[in-house]
């Protein structure tokens, strides 16, 4: 009974998270970082803590903390990291051309 509930929850959440925006972010962070262990630990801790906070607040987390404002800040962070990566890829390419 416990195992069945555990398994059904696992499958439901796992399938819901596949291809989620967070997983895409993890793929791009992991692909461009040299420390996959740290990326795995950091993303796992964040996901578990975010869901724990959501459950503890009774599904109304936005009433306790300004989630929308924090997400807006996160989106700015995403944009900054993205632009940095694109600029760096351009620099890498010109370094390659110098080597040729």
């Amino acid at each position: 009974m416990t195992l069945a509930l555990l398994a059904s929850t696992f499958v439901t959440v796992f399938l819901a998270e596949l291809g989620d925006k967070t997983q895409l972010a993890i793929v791009s962070i992991s692909g461009t970082s040299t420390r996959p262990g740290a990326v795995f630990a950091g993303s796992s801790a964040a996901l578990v803590l975010a869901s724990l906070l959501g459950a503890a607040a009774g599904g109304s987390l936005s009433a306790v903390i300004p989630t929308n404002a924090l997400q807006l800040a996160a989106s700015v962070g995403f944009l900054v990291i993205g632009v940095q990566l694109i600029r760096r890829s351009g620099k890498l390419e010109s370094a390659d051309q110098l080597a040729d």
């Binding site: 596949l18 997983q23 993890i26 996901l47 009774g58």
Partner: protein, 145 residues
């Protein structure tokens, strides 16, 4: 005599070229270190912290479905549901990390960085749009008031 010398000098040339290439590669990687962005931070702790912050802020407020699942009186065992959900989240992040490493082996670094950058910008725009829509509730009749 000369036939013995020529291959040697060629080999020497090749060796010199290799050293030069290595030095260029060294310069490029030094430049990379200098450009260190959050997810390129050198230490384990910094990589952990930047990943944690990014994922945590992105996921915050997006866990309403999971919260509803946890609170559902249907099961009456929120602890078991939480453990199952946590295991699923950890596995999904493991899949993400492994996918990233696999792509890193498959593609040239600059290609992957450009792709990752475009993906990050797209995610940022989407996340920002969601947040703005949440901050400014959709009220089509507002201008009429």
């Amino acid at each position: 005599m000369s036939s013995e010398l020529e291959p040697k000098s060629e080999r020497e040339l090749a060796g010199e070229l290799e050293v030069e290439l290595e030095r260029d590669a060294g310069l490029a990687s030094a430049e990379l270190e200098e450009l260190a962005s959050p997810n390129h931070a050198g230490s384990w702790g910094a990589a952990f912290a930047s990943t944690f912050t990014t994922v945590f802020l992105a996921e915050l407020g997006d866990k309403t479905q999971l919260a509803a699942l946890l609170l559902s009186a249907e099961s009456g065992r929120p602890g078991v549901v939480f453990i199952g959900a946590s295991l699923a989240l950890i596995c999904s992040s493991l899949v993400g990390v492994l996918l990233g490493r696999w792509l890193a082996r498959l593609m040239a670094p600059q290609q992957l960085e450009r792709l990752a950058g475009i993906l990050m910008v797209a995610l940022g725009l989407w996340l920002g749009r969601q947040a703005v829509l949440g901050l400014v509730p959709a009220t089509p009749d507002l201008p009429l008031n």
